[in-house]
Subunit: 298 residues, 2 copies
């Protein structure tokens, strides 16, 4: 895969404000989209983004609180009105199937393959390229973190070495990169060591916890909730959320390349304080805003 991009659709906690909608993040992997959480009006946010409804392959719900869930029925309805036929995988905690079944007068034009997550889960699309797994977090309701793991990527192609072995640039290079032997030249002759795939981890809603650290270990990008600042540290603990500094502690302990904070309480009309508090612990931190897009390079 070449192109991996994260688009924040909603970055607020609990209820929408004019600045931040409730939770949703889209991850685009070479044109295919995974949606994480689906708060109310996620479809409205999609309409004003570059992410296409039809490209969504799977939806992952961290938990069943309304600010992560209530946009799901409407999004699937609109996909149906757009005559979607392709099945859609839906992952969420136990209870998601009952919720979908209880919707009145509801049907979709396509199959929704519901997977209730218990201990762990793994999603691998038919088209391959990546896998998504899950780990339980520490919240007031059953809640899961998700990790996208891109397939290992071939090593760097050594053009000088290939030329020395008598292969000029051309279609043979592609064949070697795809693992074929060309004449006497084996892929291992011209390719560097296999590079591990990129890893993106999404952790919300949760206290800072070992499970998050383990899942995020070595990831290129950790998206972690930071509902509160240090001014509300007691409330964060009581309500099973994290402060910005606690999120940064998870990023530091996991050794990730980059941290992005999301799920910001409506009380912070200016969340600069949260960013500052996180950066004091882990420098490579950014603050998500609705419609912000980040390319993931490693």
């Amino acid at each position: 895969m070449q192109d991996v991009r994260v688009t924040f659709l909603g970055t607020g906690a609990g209820m929408p404000t004019r600045a931040r909608n409730v939770a949703s993040v889209a991850v685009t992997l070479d044109g295919r989209v995974l949606l994480f959480d689906c708060g109310e009006a996620t479809q409205h946010q999609l309409m004003s983004s570059a992410v296409r409804f039809g490209a969504i392959e799977a939806i992952f719900l961290t938990h069943l609180h309304g600010d992560h869930l209530f946009g799901l029925p409407g999004l699937l309805s609109s996909m149906s009105l757009n005559a979607r036929e392709k099945p859609l995988a839906l992952y969420g905690p136990a209870g998601i199937a009952a919720f979908m079944r209880a919707l009145p007068l509801y049907h979709t034009s396509f199959e929704v393959e519901i997977h209730e997550i218990s201990g762990a889960a793994a999603f691998r699309p038919p088209s391959g390229g990546y896998v998504v797994d899950a780990a339980p977090l520490v919240h007031s309701a059953p809640c899961f973190a998700f990790r996208i793991v891109e397939d290992d990527r071939p090593g760097e192609f050594d053009v000088a070495r290939a030329t020395a072995l008598g292969l000029p640039p051309g279609p043979a290079y592609g064949r070697l990169q795809r693992g074929e032997t060309v004449g006497d030249v084996k892929p291992s002759d011209v390719l560097g060591p296999t590079r591990p795939g990129r890893r993106i981890v999404y952790c919300t809603d949760t206290r800072p916890c070992d499970a998050a650290v383990e899942l995020a270990r070595g990831a290129g990008l950790l998206i972690h909730e930071a509902t509160y600042g240090s001014d509300m540290a007691a409330e964060a603990a009581e309500r099973f959320h994290a402060t910005a500094a606690e999120a940064a502690g998870v990023a530091r302990d996991a050794g990730v390349a980059q941290l992005i904070l999301t799920h910001i309480s409506p009380r912070y009309t200016d969340a600069t304080m949260l960013l500052d508090e996180a950066r004091a612990v882990f420098a490579a931190t950014e603050l998500a805003s609705d419609h912000a897009t980040f390319e993931v390079w490693r």
Copy 2:
């Protein structure tokens, strides 16, 4: 009551577009608000309107299709996060109570008094001033029209007559208007005939039907769905919707003062044709748009 105002929050059918959100209309009666239908992102539309969440006394759902319903859980959640304590009356067809019960991890900080409508229903707020009743429509699912009937209003005060009877302008005028006798002067001596209260009728989703005509008879304002134009008349019949001309026929037959068209299909990016077709049948027609507000005078 002095001030009666209708604010359209969503005027589209089926799915949101950038121009029209899914169904919701707020009616403000002297600062108290009745909400009719609650499509997804109604709370977002409220946030960008002058209508206050806290002023909502009751919510009426015409039917349980998602484009009229899926904003309800989120709106009530946000009211809870705003620490609402005042009970809220909720009217809708059979099934609305089960839907609310099936919401996972859900509670509200205030009592939701659910009333499932069968044949007819009547809501009268503790503070009085109006009543809301309902009548069944003709749709693909159980669906109800609603009518707000303002209490009868005192007749016009005849200042010349009061002066001739020896009463100069002053507090006595108010007492007479409230039905008290002042000295020898009875209210009937100075007040014209009692004026009937204003009537506002909301009809969606439906075929044009006698029940709508009966409910709307003599109303000051009829809000009626006009999902389609004459180009889609067959589809309107098949899908149990109305064309703009059919909506206008209901307005004409009911003898209302004004018609406003809403629930416009996303196919009409310019709905001028629908307005023209309706006005050919009933001249006093307007086309709703999101956030449009109309004062109701009669």
